[in-house]
Subunit: 215 residues, 2 copies
Amino acid sequence: MTGRNTADIPASTIERLPQYLRCLLELQSMGVPLVKSDRLAGLCGSNAAQVRKDFSYLGELGTRGIGYEVSALIEHISELLGVKERRRVAIVGYGKLGSALHGYAGFPERGFEVVALFDVDPAKVGCTFDGIRVFHVDEAPRVVNELGIDIAIIATPARVAQLAADAVVEGGVKAILNLAPTRLVVPEEVDVRQVCLSTDLQILSFRIAQQEGSR
Amino acid sequence: MTGRNTADIPASTIERLPQYLRCLLELQSMGVPLVKSDRLAGLCGSNAAQVRKDFSYLGELGTRGIGYEVSALIEHISELLGVKERRRVAIVGYGKLGSALHGYAGFPERGFEVVALFDVDPAKVGCTFDGIRVFHVDEAPRVVNELGIDIAIIATPARVAQLAADAVVEGGVKAILNLAPTRLVVPEEVDVRQVCLSTDLQILSFRIAQQEGSR
DNA sequence: AGGTGTGAATATATTCACAGCT
DNA sequence: AGCTGTGAATATATTCACACCT
C-alpha cells in the first residue's frame, strides 16, 4: 500500500521525521547525493528496518539495489511536515529562556520565523529585540490574528502560563509548545506539546538509580 | 503480580511518573490527603485506567473503595525516580540558554542541584553566578569527578556538543540531557536524552498542515 | 549482488470490564 | 456502593525475513 494519506502515517513515524530531516540536510551539505537505509539509521541512532518502514509510509521513495536520493527525501519530508513555507511563531514570556529561544539558530534554519514577542513587563513592552517587537500579552489576541501566527512558544513562569495560553488561543493560534511546567487546558482543536526539562531529568535519574541499585 | 522489581516497569509508565509526581505535589500543597484515579487522571490529562495500571507496577498503593493516599504516592514515586536525595547536575555551555536553565526554579524543587557550570569563554571562566563557579570545559573530567556530578545538561552550540559530551563522560557522568540539536555518541552505559525544540515545532507543524489539508 | 518495500511475527502499550477489598 | 487491581482484549510499534526490482 502506498501511504498517500497523511492521516495513516503512524504517530511514532511522524516523531522521527524531523530527526531524519536533520540528518539528511547534513548529508546534503556534505554533498552526499544518495543514502542507504543502514547508513541513515547509523546517523539517527535507529536501525535500517525502521528507516525503510518509516519511509514506506511516505510512498516508494527509494530505488531497490541503490538507496534513497537525499534531495528527494528532503523534499518529501519537508512537504509533509509543512515547513516548506515558513511558519510564523510567537514567543510568550521574554525572560532569559524566551530570549535564548529567540536567538536559537535552529529555528530559521528549519523554517520557523519568530515574528512577535510577548511579555507583561513594562520595561520590555514596546522594545524591539533583533528587529522583533515586544507586545503586552493583553494584545496577543489581536496581534496573533493580524500577523497570522500559527504557533506560540510559552516560556513564562508556570503560574501565568495558562493566562498566556488563553490569550494566544483567543488570537487563533493553532498549536502551542509549552515550556512552562504545567498542564495547559485549551480547546480541542489546538495542539499542545509539553516540554519539561525536570521531567527529562527525573527519567534520567530513574535510570541512574536503577543501575546503582542493580549493583 | 506486585511489581517489586523496577526493571519490569514499562518505559511508558516511567515517562509518566514525573507528571504524576508534579500533580501529587500540587495536591499535597493544597492539603488534599487522598486522591482517586479519575481525579488524578483529570489533572494529568490521562485516564483512570491508565493511572491505576501505572500505579499497580509500583505495588498495591491504593485502598479499594477509597483511593490513594497522596503522601504515600509521593514517597514511592520519589524513591523510584531516585530524587529523594538531591542529584548533582552540571550545565555545560553558559550562554543565554545555559543561564536560563541555571535560574530555572523547577530544578531545586524537584531534587536537582546545579553544582558546576562549564564554558570556554575566558570572560566567563572563573566567575561565579549565583554562588556557582564557571570552569573551563577542559577541567570537566576532573571537576565532574571531584564534585560527584551525575548528570550533565549540554547547552552548547551543536558543533561543540560532542566535545562537551566527551569531557563530561570522561569525568564519569552517568547521564546527559542534550539540548544541542545533534546526536551524541557516548559509551553504552551513559544514558542520553535528547531535547530538540525544532523537532517539537516540526511535529506541531505537521499536525497543522494536516488539519489545513483536510479542509 | 545489493538494496528497497512489505507482509507476518513479535513486542509493547492502552483500554476494557469486572472480580475483589473496604 | 465505590474504587482499586488486574487479566483479557485491543491497538500500536518494532523487528524479522524475504520477495522483488535494478
